[in-house]
């Protein structure tokens, strides 16, 4: 315990000295999030310094091994660091799919050479990754994907199209599910990594109902990829994908907490001050569900860490969390009345209420629809037949 107390006070002192004051302000918009990458323009000098200093200590990925650019912290030390960061309201120095998705897959399935090559540049925010999963003909039925990856002896040749690729137009590299065999649906898929600057790769943003374009269509036209860039075994990429989807669902489930951050920071009703008794009643029902879900999230992460969670439980969390977030935004619209309908201009913060509301409709679609999650729970947890 004395060691941990020392760790806490050292951490606190270091953060006090090294976290720039601007990085202790709440995140106001997408622009305040640091994604890193080759083409990243830092929003401010503070953002650059904060990433540099944290990456130096491996604290962008505190629990990854030091050899791969991580902080090598134990779970309890990582928790202390998280608490100390929260104490000063520090922003995340780096947000990336490399950290939240590819990293865990590489740690689990990557070769030693791949780990040493790719993980440190993720930790330092030098390479921004995107995820190439869905295709026009393979959405909920992801394993039905058909992007061809042909073995040309000294390289792979990739042809096909991905869709819903988050930030593909801003990413440096892609981790991508491709078909290396047509003999088996699930056992003909490989998990491939390649540079988005490779000739033959092109992207086209998709305009959403919310007016934003976080997703792209991504096209591959005779893209040559070196042979050593398959993660795990050839034709066994589905194992990697499933593992990774679990991580993605956990992350999306976390959104159910909204801005509540657990029990500490108040309720939707406190924020909205509903003036209609029927809206108030609906918000009170929501607050009950949200606080109960916050307790569940806490319990879920504890159980997950202790290995006591059912492997299919992230599906339950993803379903519940995203449905809750949609309700949250329906209520924000209801409480906001006609104010919430304004689409642009200063007064409405560029139509924030309406745009956020529309964006949440994708929460229960992306990363596996609610219906897919319910099917997984029915089959793997309840053991219902034929699910």
């Amino acid at each position: 315990m004395a060691d941990l107390d020392a760790f806490r006070s050292e951490t606190r002192a270091w953060l006090d000295g090294n976290c720039p004051p601007e990085m202790r302000e709440p995140v106001r918009s997408e622009a305040d999030i640091c994604w890193g990458g080759r083409n990243w323009t830092f929003q401010s000098e503070a953002q650059r310094i904060w990433l540099e200093r944290m990456a130096e200590r491996g604290w962008t990925v505190p629990h990854w091994p030091r050899d791969y650019g991580g902080g090598g912290l134990s779970p309890i030390e990582a928790k202390i660091l998280k608490e100390e960061l929260a104490r000063i309201c520090a922003r995340q120095p780096l947000t990336s799919f490399g950290i939240s998705m590819l990293g865990p897959a590489l740690l689990q399935f990557g070769s030693e050479e791949q780990k040493r090559r790719f993980l440190p540049e993720i930790a330092r925010g030098e390479i921004r990754w995107c995820q190439g999963y869905s295709e026009p003909g393979a959405g909920s039925d992801l394993a039905g994907l058909s992007t061809r990856c042909a073995d040309k002896g000294d390289h792979w040749l990739v042809n096909g199209q991905k869709v819903w690729t988050s930030y593909a137009d801003k990413a440096d590299w892609i981790f991508c599910l491709v078909r290396t065999s047509t003999e088996s649906k699930h056992k003909g898929i490989s998990f491939l990594l390649f540079d988005m600057a490779t000739p033959g790769v092109s992207t086209k943003p998709i305009l959403l109902i919310s007016g934003s374009s976080p997703f792209c269509e991504t096209f591959f036209d005779d893209v040559k990829v070196p042979k050593d860039q398959v993660v795990g075994e050839v034709n066994r990429g589905w194992d990697v994908a499933k593992y990774l989807l679990g991580h993605e669902r956990e992350m999306i489930a976390g959104m159910g907490l909204g801005g509540m951050g657990g029990l500490g920071s108040g309720s939707l009703g406190t924020a909205l001050k509903p003036d209609n008794p029927l809206v108030r009643a609906d918000i009170a029902e929501f607050d009950v569900d949200a606080l109960a879900f916050a307790a569940m999230s806490e319990r879920f992460f504890e159980m997950f860490k202790a290995g006591e969670a059912h492997p299919a439980s992230p599906s339950m969390m993803k379903y519940a969390g995203t449905e809750l977030n949609k309700r949250r935004h329906e209520l924000i619209m209801a409480a906001g009345g006609s104010d919430a309908l304004e689409w642009d201009g200063e007064r409405s913060k560029n139509g924030k209420a309406a745009r956020d509301w529309l964006r949440t409709k994708g929460n229960s679609i992306e990363g596996g629809t609610s219906e897919i999650q319910l099917g997984i729970v029915a089959k793997h947890i309840l053991g219902l037949p034929g699910a």
């Binding site: 108040g266 607050d287 606080l291 307790a295 729970v377 309840l382």
Partner: protein, 374 residues
């Protein structure tokens, strides 16, 4: 939230095997219902609760109890709920025990609770709505004691109770928390009308007509009854939330099993996606309700200032989820679910009573809104 400790898991195992065995529906609920017993629960089983030490969970060690907390009581109550075991555990060993903590009444009643011989009840409600602050039952000072006039209803186990913790008004007016006083009213003092409830449990309506009580009947302080009463209510609410989670889990398990056996159109009805998705949704809701109940119990035991808020969340959530579970349970069982022969309907009857006890979903949602300042 901390995960359960090994001791807590062991306690849950003990409660689970005891209640699934001795406390099973055929051995307790149906037996007492069908033989028209006056208590609505088995007194032998209550003694067994005592022998296993379960009745001492909320009683301090120095007074012979286990000195454990609301978390442990919740673990037992979930198993009670799962088996629909009729028992005065919640009112006696949890709510009343908590109210009497640190009082002379504890010294008086704890031994009987520990041995599973004493039954205690809580008299709070005066109308069809739970509204403790609206208490109007008058307790006027008379000589060395008090004179009580008024009425109470929905006094669960009030017909069997050796003593009824009764909240009365000694000062102030209905709507105020100050001026309430909690009295230990011995059996045979107030006029008791025994009432059969929907779930075959028994409750009482009480009439106080110039009932005289000594000054030492006061639990805690005169005009300061809100202290012990809120301890009882918080424990009772979290406890009933945990029991409701058990009711929901029991109904849901029974229903999912049925989906795996019943065939129509040449297939198991569990193959139909329309039912699969509803069952999966219900599964998640029950997990969430359990997490809320355990979190509230944990905060109560820690004396955390968010405990009251989370207690309301737990009861509101557990009651809503349990209602969903029993409704889906009866519907998915089809015709057989409507028969008295099948147990699923018993879950629906238990849910509706427990949902009302210590405040219904709407009461608790409203409190969440009030505590959150809207």
């Amino acid at each position: 939230m901390a995960l359960l400790t090994d001791d807590q898991k062991m306690l849950r195992e003990t409660a689970s095997s005891f209640l699934a065995g001795e406390g099973a529906i055929s051995k307790q609920l149906r037996r007492w219902r069908d033989t028209g017993c006056t208590d609505g629960f088995g007194t032998d089983l209550w003694k067994q609760f005592g022998e296993l030490g379960l009745t001492g969970i909320c009683i301090p060690q120095e007074q012979g109890g286990l000195g454990l907390g609301t978390v442990e009581a919740a673990l037992v109550l979930e198993e009670i709920g799962r088996n629909l075991t009729p028992s005065p555990f919640l009112t006696t060993a949890v709510a009343a025990a908590r109210a009497m903590e640190g009082t002379a009444h504890g010294e008086r009643w704890f031994p009987g609770i520990l041995s599973g011989e004493t039954v205690l009840a809580l008299a709070v409600d005066e109308s069809r709505r739970h509204a403790p602050e609206q208490t109007a039952l008058a307790a006027e000072r008379r000589g060395n004691g008090f004179l009580l006039n008024g009425a109470k209803q929905f006094v669960v186990h009030g017909n069997s109770a050796d003593m009824i913790l009764t909240v009365a008004r000694t000062a102030g007016s209905p709507g105020e928390l100050d001026g309430l006083t909690l009295f230990a009213v011995p059996k045979g003092t107030a006029e008791v009308e025994s009432v059969n409830l929907t779930d075959s449990s028994k409750a009482a309506r009480l009439k106080f007509e110039n009932v005289e009580l000594d000054a030492d009947a006061v639990v805690g302080e005169v005009d300061g009854g809100w202290g012990p009463l809120s301890r009882a209510l918080n424990a009772g609410r979290v406890g009933s939330a945990a029991e409701l989670v058990g009711v929901a889990a029991g109904a849901s398990t029974m229903t999912v099993e049925y989906l795996k056996q019943r065939k129509q159109f040449g297939k198991l009805i569990g193959e139909f996606q329309a039912l699969q998705h509803r069952a999966a949704h219900l599964y998640g809701e029950i997990e969430i309700a359990r997490a809320a109940a355990l979190k509230a119990a944990e905060l109560l035991d820690a004396g955390n200032d968010k405990a009251e808020l989370m207690t309301h969340v737990a009861k509101a959530k557990a009651a809503a989820v349990s209602k969903l579970a029993v409704q889906e349970g009866v519907q998915m069982h089809g015709g057989i679910g409507m028969t008295d022969e099948h147990d699923i309907g018993l879950y629906m009857k238990r849910e509706v009573v427990l949902g009302e006890l210590f405040g219904d979903t709407y009461f608790h949602r409203n409190r969440v809104a009030e505590l959150s300042g809207y």
